[in-house]
């Protein structure tokens, strides 16, 4: 094999390797372009008392329109996602805990989000639920890439 033939072989291998790398990356890129259409709605809410304080657990139904599975992370930083009512944030300044969930491609799944309520709202939460909204960003994981999706849903059972 002379140098030119060797050069053509390397060129062919580079083209094949590039095509192999391009396919999944382009697929993820196209899928990520659809994440703004992720549907989020509240299935139910539950209030419980623990040593930490009053916990509000919201179960969300998540519709994934993308062609890749979406993973709901285990935590969301304070400030990214919160419960809002009457112009105030009802949950404490801490990380929100989530039951990690995997939403299949073009499928639906649920995820439970746990918020520790501030003491001043703990006793009144039952009255505030009708007006409370879950708003902010959920940092979904799509094949290792973080995609932040805006949500704003009523906790009393409204959809996004």
């Amino acid at each position: 094999m002379n140098r030119r033939h060797f050069g053509l072989v390397i060129l062919t291998l580079v083209a094949v390797a590039t095509t192999g790398m391009l396919y999944p990356v382009l697929g993820n890129h196209l899928a990520a372009g659809n994440t703004e259409e992720v549907g989020v709605s509240v299935v139910d809410t539950a209030i419980s008392e623990t040593e930490e304080g009053t916990i509000l657990t919201a179960t969300l139904r998540i519709q994934n329109p993308t062609t890749r599975p979406l993973v709901v992370p285990e935590t969301v930083a304070y400030g990214e996602l919160g419960i809002q009512a009457k112009g105030a944030t009802l949950n404490r300044r801490r990380v929100t805990e989530i039951d990690r969930s995997r939403i299949p491609a073009r499928g639906t799944g649920t995820a439970r989000f746990r918020f520790v309520l501030k003491d001043e709202y703990a006793d009144r939460i039952a009255n505030l639920l009708d007006e409370a909204r879950l708003s902010g960003q959920i940092p979904f994981q799509l094949d290792g890439t973080t995609i932040k999706t805006e949500i704003d849903v009523a906790l009393s059972g409204g959809g996004d």
Partner: protein, 142 residues
Amino acid sequence: MARLVRYETSLVQTILGGTLLGLIGGALTFVHYQSSVWPDALPVPGPTQVVLTLLLGFSVALLELDMRSYISTFLLSAPVSLVTYVGLDFAPLLLENFAPADLFLIFVFAGGQPLSAWLLFYPMLYVGGSGVYILYRNGPFS
């Protein structure tokens, strides 16, 4: 000193070769930009994309083209690679029927980062790969 370049490409070969190199270079830039680690200013390419782009330049140098042919294919591949990279990056918007002129404006006003990422990746590494071969043929190891 041994003569390095010999083969003269025809017009058709130059166009086909430059287009192919541009498509590969644009795809590699897109993969690099989408999957690289971000420092404060510019994305840092992973080793796979770096090696493949260096090999791209190295393999073309192995073809031992004459200088006019080498420069012509490279000059054609540069804009083709940029258009390919921008096209892949804007693929979701293109599928939503955004006008290409609007996408070009978005690309320009997005700042110099994507353009810098392309400039410091494909042209540099491609020429670097060719340079490795030229050094090998004419340098201290020849």
